[in-house]
């Protein structure tokens, strides 16, 4: 039994800071969205009443425009570290990622006995974690585009206007929420050794 270093301290700090920041952004964002919930098929009334969403637009805006800075700053620090530390080599998709993506899903579902070869992250992790980075960047940019459509009118124009940027911002939120649910399920499935590594940094290698 020996300890294998897995996640660096910097990664663990930004990861765990991101948890409350992202949760607060999604929660306060839904407080705002409630006021004009025009996209069909989302959030039935029981959802709003179960989570006490109703009539909290002002509060939602105040929290969103304050915590947004922390969320963006934490993401910016992560991106700096991502490139400087070389972490991107472990995470960004490579050519084999696309080849192994589907076999990885099949393996995880128990439909294929052999796991495809992988480094620190498997093919689906590379794809999904990279999507999270892209989604967060899009979320921050589309957020600024609807926050300041006059001062940052050029940014709003890049998204195809105010309404398109607002829709993009909503799509990012839905996608991130879905990924968070999958992520938590996968962490539960992977077990203690994997989870401990995200807090303590190391994994125990039994061989």
């Amino acid at each position: 039994m020996r300890l294998v270093e897995k996640h660096s301290l910097s990664l663990r700090i930004v990861h765990w800071l991101n948890v409350p920041f992202l949760c607060l952004m999604i929660w306060s964002g839904i407080l705002i969205y409630w006021a004009n919930d025009e996209y069909p098929g989302f959030f039935p009334d029981w959802f709003y009443s179960a989570f006490h969403i109703n009539n909290r637009l002002a509060e939602g805006m105040a929290v969103h425009f304050a915590v947004g800075w922390l969320f963006a700053l934490n993401g910016f620090v992560y991106l700096l570290w991502f490139f400087i530390s070389g972490h991107w080599r472990e995470l960004l998709p490579t050519t084999s990622t696309f080849r192994y993506a589907w076999p990885t899903v099949m393996h995880d579902l128990g439909l294929h006995p052999v796991a495809p070869p992988q480094g620190k992250f498997n093919a689906m992790q590379r794809l999904v974690y990279t999507s999270v980075i892209v989604l967060c960047v899009l979320g921050v940019l589309s957020g600024f585009a609807i926050y300041k459509p006059v001062q940052l009118g050029w940014l709003t124009a890049c998204f195809g206007g105010y309404r398109a940027a607002r829709f993009m911002h909503f799509l990012v939120m839905i996608s991130l929420s879905g990924i968070v649910v999958l992520h938590v399920l996968q962490v539960v499935r992977a077990g203690w050794n994997n989870f401990r590594a995200m807090i303590a940094g190391f994994e125990v290698d039994d061989e």
């Binding site: 300890l3 969205y33 004009n36 425009f65 459509p149 006059v150 001062q151 401990r196 807090i199 303590a200």
Partner: protein
């Protein structure tokens, strides 16, 4: 104790401590205050004020994006009837203007005909509500700077506008009032204002959210101290700039 157990215990303790500190920070940050400014916690409100200062610096030359004119007579979307208790008779209505908030302020009483005689400005742009919706609308009216020039009104730090029934009141920074798209508007979508849109005269300030675009103006005054603002008292950002 093995190396693994020692490190696990240490890391999880630090993690719990960090989570506790963050939670305490959140409680401190969102602790309720005197309740003077709606139900927004005062320390959160300070961030909104800081945001305002950050974004207030370069607004004068940035325009709210110009849009194609909507079909004439299209009924503009409305939201609420705050400040619209009275249906006013245009012939009796007068705009009350005070040059400042002191007792010996200059006082003007202006009819809609007098105001309509001032230089007319028109444009179409997107009108945005705090709720999230937006709509392209066209406006016609008097640029606020033209209005000030016409009556020799001097700049103060703030301009306050109050509805005829007195129930809706906003205060706005002078820089935003001097923006070239800030109008005292008497037409929307090519037609004289409808009652529900604030007839006979409303504020149009597309560089701010709809909550600042006061309907059915009864009184305007200039002030160096920030006058009260209805929606800020309800917990919304006072600056509300876009």
């Amino acid at each position: 104790m093995s190396e693994g157990r020692r490190r696990t215990l240490l890391s999880f303790s630090v993690f719990a401590l960090g989570a506790g500190i963050l939670f305490a920070a959140w409680c401190w940050w969102t602790a309720p205050g005197g309740g003077e400014e709606g139900d927004i916690p005062p320390r959160l409100r300070q961030v909104l004020e800081w945001n305002s200062r950050l974004w207030a610096s370069p607004p004068s030359h940035r325009l709210s994006v110009l849009k194609p004119e909507p079909p004439a007579g299209k009924i503009p979307r409305t939201n609420g009837d705050l400040g619209l208790k009275n249906v006013v008779d245009v012939n009796l209505w007068r705009l009350e203007v005070y040059s400042d908030d002191s007792a010996d302020a200059r006082h003007l009483q202006l009819s809609l005909a007098e105001l309509r005689a001032l230089p007319r400005t028109t444009f179409s742009t997107e009108f945005r509500c705090v709720e999230g919706w937006s709509e392209d609308m066209s406006f016609a009216g008097i640029k606020f700077t033209d209005f000030m020039k016409a009556y020799g009104l001097q700049s103060k730090k703030y301009v306050a506008l109050v509805s005829v029934d007195g129930e809706y009141y906003v205060s706005i920074d002078m820089e935003s009032m001097e923006h070239e798209q800030t109008l005292l508007a008497y037409e929307m979508n090519g037609k004289p204002l409808l009652h529900q849109n604030g007839a006979p005269l409303r504020l149009v300030i597309p560089i701010k959210y709809g909550i600042k675009n006061l309907k059915q103006i009864g009184k305007i005054y200039f002030s160096d101290t920030r006058p009260p603002d209805y929606w800020a008292e309800q917990g919304y950002d006072w600056f509300a700039g876009l």
